[in-house]
């Protein structure tokens, strides 16, 4: 190795983001940690394939998602109908308290296909450009964009929100009116 800095020294800086991506992608911390572990080993042993000066985080994310999807493909061959598992729980309606409750959102998010979760997390939450996402996921930019749109629409479906429906009509405007009736009149 030359005298230049070893990109492997920067691995620790990217671990929190890598793990957050893994958890968001597979929704299971144990599996996420195994994925991160595999990714670290692969990155360490294949560091000569990393183009110095390019985005190390994107490279690590790519290794992780490739590992995840190849495990999934293998499992899919073993398990008959993996998507049927969720079918029973989907129609559960969220409590309509006028807000897009985070618990409902999270539940809906975890019901998405991993391809949809992936693209929403990469492009929506972790701030990668569509171009980078396209490169990381090995598809065209147009595919990334349409996948993002379909993922959003699916999320709305799962939360029982029609697209275009206001997710927060008159937030909690009525809560303050309740307290006045219990006041005792002084003699």
């Amino acid at each position: 190795m030359s005298g230049g800095a070893d990109p492997r020294d920067e691995l620790p800086d990217h671990l929190p983001a890598l793990r957050a991506f893994a958890i968001s992608l597979c929704g299971d911390v144990t599996m996420a940690d195994d994925l991160v572990q595999d990714t670290i080993v692969k990155a360490w042993t294949n560091i000569d394939k990393f183009a110095v000066g390019t985005n190390l985080r994107a490279w690590l994310f790519t290794i992780l998602r490739n590992t995840f999807f190849s495990i999934r493909r293998k499992r899919k061959r073993e398990v008959a109908d993996p998507d049927g598992v969720h079918a029973g729980s989907i129609s559960e309606k969220p409590a309509h308290d006028g807000r897009l409750a985070f618990a409902d959102f999270r539940r809906a998010f975890m019901q998405l296909s991993p391809e949809h979760r992936e693209v929403l997390i990469l492009a929506g939450a972790s701030g990668f450009a569509y171009e980078e996402v396209a490169e990381m996921t090995g598809v065209a930019i147009g595919t990334v964009k349409s996948r993002v749109n379909r993922a959003r629409a699916r999320l709305c479906d799962l939360m029982g929100l029609a697209e275009g429906e206001n997710p927060m009509p008159g937030v909690d405007a009525a809560t303050n009116g309740v307290m006045s009736s219990s006041r005792i009149q002084a003699a």
């Binding site: 691995l11 620790p12 983001a17 968001s24 897009l100 998010f109 939450a125 275009g164 429906e165």
Partner: protein, 49 residues
């Protein structure tokens, strides 16, 4: 139609906020020691070669 478009972009904003929150919550979780241990092992293994 205009109204509908406004609501749609508001909805998108909310979705993005919630997505960031999903990611942020995962980001806030404490990193297990096993990863630092693993890196240490990999370093030692290479140094010992």
């Amino acid at each position: 139609m205009m109204r509908n478009g406004d609501n749609k972009s508001k909805l998108q904003e909310r979705i993005d906020e919630n997505l960031k929150r999903v990611y942020q919550e995962a980001l806030d979780e404490r990193l297990p020691d096993r990863f630092q241990d693993l890196l240490q092992q990999l370093r030692e293994k290479e140094a010992g070669k």
